[in-house]
C-alpha cells in the first residue's frame, strides 16, 4: 500500500534538487481533511501522528524540515501542534492555508471532546472505561518516545558533530523529565547554546 521508507540520502537529494516535484497538498480541501485525519488519530497529543503522516506517508516535509518547524512551533507561544499546522498550511497557501490547516486540526476534535465531556458525567466512573483510557495513554507515551528515536537519526546530518548534539539532548531530557526545571529557562540556556554553536559553525 505505502511507498517504502525513503533512505536519508534519497530524501536529501530530493530536497536539494527540485522542490517543485515534491509531494504537496493538492488543494485547501486536501489540507483541511489531511489535518482533520491527523488530529483524529492523535490520542494524548498529535505530534507523533504528524511526523508519521506528513513526513513518512505524505512526504510533504523531510525529517529535517519537520524538526526545524517543530523547533519554531515549540518556541512560539501557543499550542505546539496548532503552531505547526499554521506553518505548514501557510507555506503552501499563505494565510488561507494556515487558517485551513488550523481549522482542520481543531474543528472535529472540538466537537468530539465536548461530546466526551457530556458522556463522562454519565459513564466516567465505569472502571473499564478508565482502564481503556489508561491503556491508550500508555500507547501514546510509547508513540511519542518512538518519534524521538526516529528524529534522533536527523542528528547525523546536523552541522554540529554528534559529540556536541547528543550530550545537549541528554542534558535536555535530564532537566525536563527528571529535574522538572521550567521549560523557558531550558530553552533559553540549552537551546541558546545550540544556536550559538551552530551559528559559529555555519559558513557566513
Amino acid at each position: 500500500m505505502h511507498p517504502p521508507l525513503p533512505s536519508p540520502t534519497v530524501n536529501a537529494a530530493a530536497s536539494d534538487t527540485e522542490p517543485a516535484l515534491r509531494p504537496r497538498p493538492a488543494s485547501l480541501a486536501d489540507l483541511f481533511f489531511s489535518f482533520t485525519w491527523l488530529a483524529l488519530q492523535g490520542f494524548g497529543g498529535v505530534l507523533a501522528v504528524v511526523q508519521r503522516e506528513l513526513v513518512e506517508r505524505k512526504r510533504w516535509l523531510t525529517q529535517e524540515e519537520f524538526l526545524e518547524d517543530w523547533a519554531v512551533a515549540q518556541i512560539m507561544p501557543g499550542p505546539n501542534v496548532a503552531n505547526l499546522s499554521l506553518m505548514v498550511g501557510g507555506r503552501y497557501f499563505g494565510l488561507k492555508g494556515a487558517l485551513t490547516a488550523l481549522a482542520g486540526m481543531l474543528a472535529a476534535p472540538l466537537v468530539i471532546v465536548l461530546i466526551l465531556g457530556v458522556l463522562y458525567t454519565r459513564f466516567g466512573a465505569h472502571p473499564q472505561v478508565i482502564g481503556a483510557l489508561r491503556g491508550m495513554a500508555a500507547v501514546s507515551a510509547g508513540m511519542i518516545g518512538a518519534t524521538g528515536l526516529k528524529l534522533a537519526a536527523a542528528l547525523n546530518k546536523h552541522p554540529l558533530p554528534l559529540w556536541l548534539t547528543v550530550p545537549i539532548s541528554v542534558l535536555g531530557v535530564l532537566m525536563v523529565a527528571i529535574l522538572h526545571w521550567p521549560l523557558f529557562y531550558i530553552l533559553l540556556g540549552l537551546g541558546g547554546l545550540g544556536c550559538v554553536l551552530t551559528y559559529r559553525k555555519l559558513a557566513p
Binding site: G45, E68, P77, G145, L149, A154, S169, L202
Partner: protein
C-alpha cells in the same frame, strides 16, 4: 444538566475570562498545558467558577480524546458556562476561552513563521532552527517519559510501562498503523490487563 455549582456571570465576568485567556496565550511557551497551574489559580481559587473535580476532568478528558491537548481549554469554558446555568452560556464559554487562548499566539506565530520562511537563508535564521534541534529531540523523549510515568509506582505500573516500551519499539521499527496499537491498548485496559 445539573452543575455542581450555580453561578451568575455578568458581561464584566465574561470579559475578564476572555482577557485572562488572551494573556495566557502569550505566556504559553511550550504549549497551553504549561499555563495549567495559572488557569487553576484563576478559575478555581480566585473566582470559584469551576470545582476542583471539574478542572481535573477537563484536563483528563482532553488528554484521552483525539486531537490537540489545547482542547482542555474548551472543556473548561464549557463547564464554566454550564455552571452559569445554560447550554447557551456553555457555548459562549467555549468560544470565549478558545478564541482567547488561540488568537494572540496564532497571530504572533504566523507573522514570525512567514518572516522566518522569507529569510530562511539568513545565517541567523538557519542557526536558530538547526541549533534548537537537539533540545527539540530531548523534549520528545521527555514528554514520552512524563506521560508514561503514570502513578510513579513501579510495583503496580510495570505492565503499563511494558506496554509503552513495546508500543514504542513497534512504531519505531514498523509501519503498522497507529490506530491498531491504540485499539490494542484500549482492549488491554478495558479487561484490566494493564
Amino acid at each position: 444538566m445539573n452543575p455542581p455549582i450555580h453561578l451568575v456571570l455578568g458581561m464584566g465576568d465574561w470579559l475578564s475570562l476572555f482577557g485572562h485567556y488572551l494573556m495566557l496565550s502569550l505566556m504559553s511557551i511550550g504549549g497551553a498545558i504549561s499555563t495549567t497551574s495559572e488557569m487553576h489559580r484563576f478559575l478555581v481559587e480566585q473566582h470559584g467558577w469551576l470545582t476542583q473535580a471539574q478542572f481535573n476532568e477537563s484536563v483528563a478528558i482532553a488528554q484521552a480524546a483525539p486531537g490537540p491537548n489545547v482542547l482542555f481549554v474548551a472543556l473548561m469554558g464549557w463547564n464554566v458556562g454550564l455552571n452559569a446555568g445554560s447550554y447557551t452560556a456553555a457555548y459562549l464559554g467555549v468560544f470565549v476561552t478558545m478564541v482567547g487562548i488561540m488568537l494572540p499566539s496564532t497571530t504572533l506565530t504566523y507573522v514570525a513563521a512567514q518572516w522566518g520562511y522569507r529569510n530562511r537563508d539568513l545565517r541567523g535564521v538557519r542557526a536558530f532552527k538547526q541549533g534548537m534541534v537537539p533540545i527539540v529531540i530531548a523534549l520528545l523523549f521527555s514528554t514520552g517519559m512524563i506521560l508514561g510515568g503514570a502513578n510513579h509506582n513501579p510495583g503496580t505500573d510495570w505492565p503499563l510501562w511494558t506496554l509503552s516500551i513495546v508500543a514504542g519499539l513497534i512504531i519505531w521499527r514498523t509501519r503498522i498503523h497507529l490506530l491498531w496499537l491504540l485499539a490494542a491498548g484500549a482492549v488491554l485496559g478495558w479487561f484490566q490487563l494493564v
